[in-house]
């Protein structure tokens, strides 16, 4: 917004972007898009938003949101994820969710399926409070967890809990393209009633012979399949697993077991894994400083729990931006890449990647990495 926009190298700009360069002279210091937003939030180009068009409860604690994305959306590949901005208690949070619908949807909408995790306020907020008609800021679809386009493969999906979403999207996409190969799917859930997207999965399994679904309930004692993932179980349910391309998504414990199993069998090459990335770093109980890494400068330093990060940077020979050196002017604001820092004024710990850090009044609380 502040700098004159640079033309994108390569390719002439579209007629719309030429026109908006002109109309931006009327809208300065804002952009035309800021005024279009007043008419329809889906027409914006300075940020992308999606309108919640439907909410659907899958289980008692999982909900599917159908979102209509704005004009600049590009189609996703089945298995990719999208960043979603969630306002909760006045603050803006960003979370990443896998798109659970197939790209072949007829109405240009997409869905995300969110499970309320214990103690995670944001997923609870999505599952309980988001309503039809809300607008949520979204990013573009990203990620390299998708099926190859041209190659003919026989996939095996190993999923658990809300890790079902990429597999669901992929299988649906294959069905929509009418090229569903022989597919095996192991899905773990605590109980029968807990299976996210369970009804649709069972319907697909009943309708398509080539889709072999095995639902395994880890907490139902009297159920025959009540075992956690193991090589023996895999042998029993999908004997040819070593010849298949494997796509796994779920909680860390499952992925660890799967990785180990494939390593022992010597076929890790076939294994594709999508991990849930934790947005928060665990706060060390005894925060007594730690290693500080300045990502842009490539400088590493030691920071103790009382020394402001600005001082740590200066002592390491850097000259980062700063002003008042006491937390009023925000000249020193930078982004937390990872780790934890503590606000020396309040003792509050920042541990969410992407938080704004005032380096002059924050010190390391454990290891941390800053975008400086």
């Amino acid at each position: 917004m502040r700098q004159p926009t640079q033309p994108v190298p390569g390719g002439s700009p579209s007629i719309w972007s030429r026109l908006s360069t002109l109309t931006d002279y009327f809208a300065w210091p804002l952009r035309t898009s800021h005024y279009l937003e007043l008419v329809n939030p889906l027409w914006t180009t300075h940020k992308m938003q999606a309108r919640v068009v439907k909410v659907w409860d899958e289980t008692r604690d999982a909900r599917t949101l159908t979102l209509r994305p704005g004009l600049n959306w590009r189609g996703h590949r089945a298995g990719q994820h999208v960043r979603v901005g969630i306002p909760a208690n006045g603050k803006h949070y960003t979370r990443t969710y896998t798109i659970s619908s197939a790209p072949q949807r007829y109405d240009d909408c997409f869905t995300i399926t969110v499970k309320a995790i214990d103690k995670a306020t944001i997923s609870h907020h999505i599952v309980r409070n988001i309503k039809v008609g809300d607008y949520l800021p979204i990013g573009l679809p990203q990620g390299d967890f998708y099926l190859p386009d041209a190659q003919h493969i026989h996939p095996l999906f190993i999923t658990a809990g809300s890790g079902i979403t990429p597999a669901f999207s992929m299988v649906n996409s294959l069905i929509a393209q009418e090229r569903l190969p022989d597919t095996c799917h192991l899905h773990y859930a605590p109980h029968e009633f807990d299976v996210v997207l369970g009804k649709q999965l069972r319907e697909m399994a009943a309708q398509y012979d080539r889709y072999h679904l095995h639902l395994l309930y880890t907490r139902e004692e009297n159920h025959p399949g009540n075992a956690r993932f193991s090589a023996a179980q895999l042998d029993a349910l999908c004997p040819d697993w070593k010849e298949r391309d494997v796509y796994a998504c779920g909680p860390p414990s499952l992925l660890e077991a799967v990785e180990q199993c494939f390593e022992q069998a010597g076929c890790s090459r076939n294994l594709h894994i999508e991990r849930f990335r934790a947005p928060f770093t665990e706060i060390p109980a005894d925060a007594v400083g730690g290693k500080v890494r300045f990502a842009q400068s490539g400088v590493d330093a030691e920071g103790d729990s009382d020394t402001p990060l600005l001082k740590v940077a200066e002592e390491a020979g850097m000259n980062p931006p700063h002003g008042c050196r006491m937390g009023i002017c925000h000249t020193c604001n930078t982004t937390l890449v990872s780790g934890c820092v503590r606000d020396l004024r309040t003792g509050e710990v920042l541990n969410e990647a992407g938080s704004i850090v005032q380096t002059c009044i924050c010190a390391a609380a454990g290891d941390c990495e800053l975008d400086l």
Partner: protein, 353 residues
């Protein structure tokens, strides 16, 4: 009994207590933030943008009531009242943007929301001064050295004598004229309200030192001028050219009407900003946003080493004794800083909090 070196008649306990009271206000404000505030700022922003764009179209609409059209409603009174309404709306929109939205956003007051659209380091405001330059001259210089003579450029803006401590010069005889000019051209004044420029006029640096700075300010000024005095009037004039074959009214006059309306809107804004700032800066009241934030430095020095390590606080500037920032600012708000102490004492201040 005075046991400390500060120029106030308070015991250490009273100072501690004062700090605690200010901290309590701060905590109360911080704990209260939430969804209500987010809804408020989003509503103000939406209202402001709607008002601004409607104002522009009301100004355009007034052109259809010029007597030259010859229809029954084409009368000067109707045209002028519409034009006046549009201009007034635009002025209000600019005041809202500058004072209620941008000033606070640029103070980082809304950064806690982490909304990428409402952040101090990306917000650009509707005035000639670039945001980051204003953040420097206001957040850094003015709020670190509030009312400290020769440090705070906001004291007299470098052109007026507002305290007996400033030595008198014959040039100050024209002060009433400067004042009125500053009031009218406040926007331009703020854009050029730069320490570097002030230093240059005193011969402390060379032109090349702040040439990049001037370029940057120049770009912002150009875009502001392009919007209010070229784009909007020109669009109206271009539409007026074909119409002028049927309606005897010059497109140039149309250009002038729209540009004039925009200029008046800017004047309304300048006038408003100048008077609010006067009100804030000449009264011994404490604007909370400024004082609430840094109070913890005073009452919890063990938690924050910054003031001790800061060179800003130990300036050898003449007439500024070494004392914590919080006191300097508090005294500064009381009145223009005097060598030893100020006429309004801390207890009066506390009553104002």
């Amino acid at each position: 009994m005075r046991t400390h070196q500060y120029p106030v008649d308070l015991t250490d306990e009273q100072i501690e207590e004062f700090g605690r009271e200010l901290d309590a206000i701060r905590d109360e404000v911080f704990d209260d933030r939430g969804e209500r505030d987010r809804a408020y700022i989003l509503k103000v922003i939406k209202t402001q943008r709607t008002l601004a764009v409607s104002a522009r179209f009301v100004i355009y609409a007034s052109l259809f009531f010029l007597p030259a059209w010859g229809h029954a409603l084409a009368l000067w009174p109707i045209m002028l009242s519409l034009l006046g309404l549009g201009t007034f709306m635009l002025g209000i929109a600019k005041i809202l943007e500058n004072m209620e939205i941008a000033h606070n956003v640029l103070h980082a007051q809304w950064d806690w929301m982490k909304d990428p659209e409402i952040q101090s380091n990306t917000w650009e405001w509707d005035t000639m001064s670039p945001s980051d330059r204003w953040m420097h001259s206001h957040n850094v210089v003015h709020h670190t050295w509030t009312n400290v003579l020769e440090k705070d450029l906001d004291v007299g803006y470098g052109i007026m004598r507002v305290t007996p401590m400033q030595p008198w010069k014959p040039a100050y005889l024209l002060q009433p004229v400067y004042f009125i000019l500053l009031m009218l051209l406040f926007e331009e004044g703020v854009a050029l309200h730069e320490q570097a420029i002030d230093d240059h006029l005193k011969g402390k640096n060379t032109f090349s030192d702040f040439k990049p700075l001037l370029k940057r300010i120049g770009y912002k000024i150009w875009r502001q001028v392009a919007k209010d005095y070229i784009a909007w009037p020109l669009a109206a004039a271009l539409v007026a050219i074909p119409i002028s074959f049927y309606v005897p009214f010059s497109p140039l006059a149309v250009f002038g009407i729209v540009a004039g309306a925009n200029a008046v809107a800017n004047l309304i804004r300048n006038r408003w900003r100048r008077s609010t700032i006067n009100a804030v800066k000449t009264r011994p009241a404490l604007p909370c946003s400024a004082i609430v934030m840094p109070v913890t430095f005073h009452s919890h020095p063990h938690r924050c080493p910054a003031p001790e390590s800061s060179t800003l606080l130990k300036s050898g500037w003449p007439g500024v004794p070494e004392q914590p920032w919080i006191f300097r600012v508090t005294l500064g708000f009381c009145s223009i800083f005097r060598r030893q102490c100020c006429p309004f004492r801390i207890p009066i201040m506390a009553a104002h909090v």
